[in-house]
């Protein structure tokens, strides 16, 4: 089985990463009750004998050895110390060691140029060394998952620098980026600059990007909070959907040992679950596996159109044990609804280029087929890919739920999100506001801005032009004729 490495960069990236490792451990604790170190757990964790300094891997062997002590296959990068050192002090600190960390003290000051050009060059060797170390522990490295935000300086700047580095050093290893986009009313004034500058790197150097919008996460969290029974003890509220099963929501799972839930934990859990569900089919058994390399193969029709809109359902599950098929069908319907997307977009009214349905748990092939047949009439698919469905079945259900669905859609609606960012960018750029902060950084040039804008424009145009073909009559190219 293959392994993946998580590269978490910046404050946002590390917070999501922290939730990811916590939930990953929780998932394996449920699936792997014997505490055996097997292939599956090996895809994200190393098994080491922690009595040694700089412990080496305990060989996997037959996949029947006991877990001694798990180390995450991760690289943690931040240009300030706060988040990472708190992580190390917390209960999760054990799964990392200090050689996996790279921190500075002064931060990137919400400036992409500081992160990408200055720190990127300054720490080039160390970054490459940290990644190399993690990579050497893998016997078949399949994928890097880079997690960072787009609005700040470190995540967007250093994160995309690492992406470049990964492409140079490991051209055959897939690069999936989970990028958190700022909301329109983001408090970082330069976030449009950072986003657009970082987008050029994502477009050119990532295999696949899962854009996530903060506002969408907030809305989903609110939706769940409303449905969940109140957690305060003593008070029982009657009549308010009492049927929701506790601990089944996608946002569940506070950091182990910390009594207080941090404000972003719920949102970050959503993203962490996304990564777990995305990789589940590659890590566990199922009758129709989806390996990670199949995701790009099936969902990316043209090299630069690799932005996928994700949605996860159900958000929580009901407490009664019986699962009526209607509820299962609801899971599929919700996956296409506007309010379940991890971006503020509406894919249903735009054009699908391709769509993956990754199902976990107690669901049969015929359930998927029935739902595809049911939903398809209401969805628009591009004319050359009218059956653009990729389906996967993983038999291991997520923690707390009998089944779940992750949809990944390559949909033209994403051009709206990108256009918003571009408009915010141009608003600042027209006035040359804050530009000097960037241009004074070594190696930063005005052309970086114009090129990035151009790159973004071309991505927008690619998606937009395809959307315009929606509903238009199609001229088919005639098939080859055999001369008789």
């Amino acid at each position: 089985m293959t392994q993946s490495i998580i590269v978490q960069v910046g404050q946002c990236g590390n917070q999501i990463g922290c939730r990811f490792w916590d939930l990953a451990l929780r998932e394996y604790a449920q699936v792997n009750k014997d505490g055996v170190y097997d292939d599956s757990i090996g895809s994200f964790f190393r098994n080491v004998d922690s009595r040694h300094e700089d412990p080496a891997n305990i060989p996997l062997g037959e996949g029947k050895g006991k877990i001694k002590s798990l180390k995450a296959r991760a690289v943690l990068v931040d240009m300030e110390e706060g988040v990472v050192s708190e992580l190390m002090k917390g209960p999760l600190g054990e799964v990392f060691d200090c050689r996996q960390l790279l921190t500075d003290v002064s931060g990137s000051g919400n400036n992409w140029a500081t992160g990408h050009k200055m720190y990127g060059s300054q720490y080039k060797e160390q970054l490459s060394e940290a990644v190399r170390r993690a990579a050497e522990f893998c016997d078949c490295l399949q994928c890097f998952f880079v997690i960072h935000s787009m609005g700040g300086g470190t995540g967007s700047g250093v994160g995309t620098r690492i992406l470049n580095l990964l492409e140079d050093d490991y051209p055959d290893v897939y690069r999936f980026v989970t990028a958190v986009y700022p909301s329109a009313e983001d408090d970082v004034i330069t976030s449009p600059y950072n986003s657009v500058l970082a987008m050029r790197e994502l477009t050119n150097h990532a295999d696949c990007v899962l854009p996530i919008e903060n506002q969408a996460l907030v809305d989903i969290v609110n939706k769940i909070t409303q449905a969940l029974p109140p957690t305060k003890s003593g008070k029982r509220v009657y009549g308010v959907s009492p049927a929701v099963k506790p601990d089944s929501a996608l946002t569940t799972g506070t950091a182990v040992g910390s009594p207080e839930e941090k404000p972003f934990d719920k949102m970050n859990n959503l993203v962490a679950n996304l990564l777990l569900n995305l990789t589940s089919s590659a890590r566990f058994e199922g009758s129709l596996n989806i390996d990670l390399n199949e995701i790009t193969m099936n969902l990316v029709p043209f090299p630069k159109m690799h932005y996928l809109v994700a949605s996860q359902t159900p958000l929580y599950c009901m407490a009664d044990v019986k699962v009526p098929p209607r509820r299962l069908d609801q899971m599929f319907s919700d996956a296409f609804a506007k309010d379940h997307q991890m971006l503020k977009v509406d894919p249903k009214h735009s054009l699908y280029l391709a769509c993956a349905l990754m199902v976990r748990g107690n669901v049969e092939l015929s359930d998927i087929r029935r739902n595809i047949d049911r939903l398809k009439p209401n969805l628009n698919f591009v004319h050359w890919n009218e059956e653009g469905w990729k389906t996967g079945l993983c038999s291991v259900a997520p923690v707390g739920q009998p089944y779940s669905l992750l949809t990944l859609a390559n949909n033209t609606c994403i051009h709206n999100t990108f256009t918003d960012i571009r408009d915010r960018f141009t608003k600042l750029f027209k006035r040359k506001a804050h530009l000097h902060h960037y241009t004074q950084v070594d190696g930063m040039d005005m052309s970086d801005f114009t090129d990035s804008l151009e790159s973004l424009n071309s991505v927008i145009a690619d998606y937009y032009n395809l959307e315009q073909t929606m509903g238009q009559p199609v001229v088919m190219e005639p098939r080859l004729q055999i001369a008789s």
Binding site: E364, R369, E386, R479
Partner: protein, 451 residues
């Protein structure tokens, strides 16, 4: 005579494993309807063809389980491991412990990655395994390769391995059993993969046995009454069809010995290199519960089966009886499913004396086919898989044109906008390779439609 099986990719491994267990289940079936001597011959023929039996007794005096003459190939570990485990769990047969090859990283639905990268890299190892298996055979009857068209490993590595087999064993018979993907949704690039695979197999394999998921799904839901159909159910139907053809039987011109002669099947069914696509129709097929309460008469079964062939119906329900084997229309097209050759396998009661002349009617065959070569009949009085009477028809006919046309349509449409092509070029395929494949399949369609 022994037949070696190659299981390629996830689907190939699942179907292969299922086929072996169906073979074994049939062998040890309780309702046989023949003398124990005849049954013994049947069992021995099946076991020696598809399994190798250890000669010496093991220490506790019992014989070891029969070991499948198979090579398992996949580019990731899960499917192979599962097949090995399933076989072990059955307690009736097993795979040879060393006869499998797997890698860590799958082909990712990318035909080019399978064919251009994994194939050449694994060639030596796989061919070594095949050679080891061949050396165990007294007489090699040929190869059966199980693979699907949609994925990357089965299709890409499968096409490559088939070619290597052809190079290494130029005079052996190679039959590829391909699983045709659902017309909607499993793998998005399935039409590209299918076009590339079929065009390559057409050059290397002797015959291509087509199993369409869409038809199999219908069989599961309408004949077998399965509510939530899983891949396991579908694979069982494939295995049932394969087994009903492959189990020992008696051919009129092959002497009086019950055999499974792959070469004979290939020779009779694919007389022309442009016509290699075979379909398998069988009757009756029902759930185990229904079996006990059903009786069938041979004339009815054969009449249904013949109409299934003419009307190209995948099963006995909903056959279109309007279709008649008529002469050509003025435009030169035929409106029924015209065949080149058929093989009828009759199993069960009264089969030895059964009249099957309705399948040698010259009207259902292409005019250039010599009448005495058009159809042949295999007979086996032993019951099959608990069925008192069972008939199977393997046909080389224009039936495959319709699904093939659909696949080419979609692939060509996608190719016109060059979507996904970059993923293939990345691994060394060129746009010309695509065009060549399209051309060769258009030729296949052309020659089948001209029947």
């Amino acid at each position: 005579m022994s037949v070696i099986t190659l299981q390629l990719g996830q689907c190939g491994n699942q179907v292969g494993e299922q086929t072996f267990s169906t073979l074994i289940d049939d062998v040890y079936s309780k309702s046989i309807g023949v003398s124990s001597q005849d049954n013994h011959d049947y069992i021995q023929t099946c076991l020696s063809t598809f399994f190798s039996q250890p000669e010496s007794k093991s220490r506790d005096g019992s014989f070891d389980l029969p070991k499948a003459r198979a090579v398992l190939v996949d580019m990731e570990t899960k499917a192979v491991a599962q097949s090995l485990q399933q076989a072990r769990k059955s307690g009736k047969w097993s795979y040879c412990p060393e006869q499998w090859y797997s890698q860590k990283r799958g082909s990712g639905n990318n035909w080019a990655y399978g064919y251009c990268v994994h194939g050449p890299r694994s060639q030596d190892d796989i061919m070594n395994l095949v050679r080891r298996e061949v050396e165990k055979c007294d007489r090699l009857g040929g190869f059966i390769n199980f693979l699907s068209l949609a994925g990357g490993t089965g299709s890409g590595v499968g096409a490559f391995v088939t070619q290597s087999l052809r190079d290494e064993y130029p005079f052996s018979f190679i039959v590829n059993q391909v699983v045709w993907p659902y017309s909607t949704g499993e793998v998005i690039v399935q039409n590209y993969n299918a076009v590339l695979t079929l065009s390559h197999l057409y050059d290397t394999a002797d015959a291509i046995l087509v199993m369409e998921n869409d038809s199999l799904h219908k069989i599961c839901s309408q004949l077998l009454n399965i509510k939530n159909i899983s891949f396991r159910d579908i694979n069982k139907v494939i295995a049932h069809k394969m087994t009903s053809v492959l189990q020992p039987s008696l051919a009129a011109d092959l002497g009086t010995k019950h055999t499974c002669d792959l070469g004979y099947i290939v020779e009779r069914l694919t007389p022309h290199p442009q016509h290699k696509l075979l379909t398998v129709k069988n009757i009756p097929q029902m759930s185990d519960i229904a079996k006990e309460f059903s009786t069938y008469q041979w004339p009815g079964l054969l009449k249904n089966l013949r109409q299934m062939l003419i009307a190209d119906s995948p099963m006995e329900e909903g056959i279109n009886w309007e279709v008649k084997p008529a002469t050509r229309t003025e435009s030169g097209h035929t409106c029924f499913n015209r065949s080149i050759s058929t093989l009828l396998v009759l199993r069960g009661k009264e089969t030895l004396s059964l009249d099957a002349s309705m399948f040698s009617d010259p009207n259902i065959y292409a005019p250039w086919v010599p009448q005495d070569l058009a159809s042949c009949v295999f007979r086996q009085p032993r019951w099959f898989c608990g069925y008192e009477k069972a008939a199977t028809l393997v046909g080389n006919s224009s039936a495959s044109v319709k699904p093939l046309n659909k696949i080419i349509d979609k692939a060509w449409n996608m190719f016109a906008s060059r979507a996904y092509v970059h993923q293939y070029l990345k691994h060394g395929l060129t746009e010309e390779d695509f065009l060549d494949s399209f051309v060769s399949l258009e030729k296949v369609i052309d020659s089948y439609t001209k029947l």
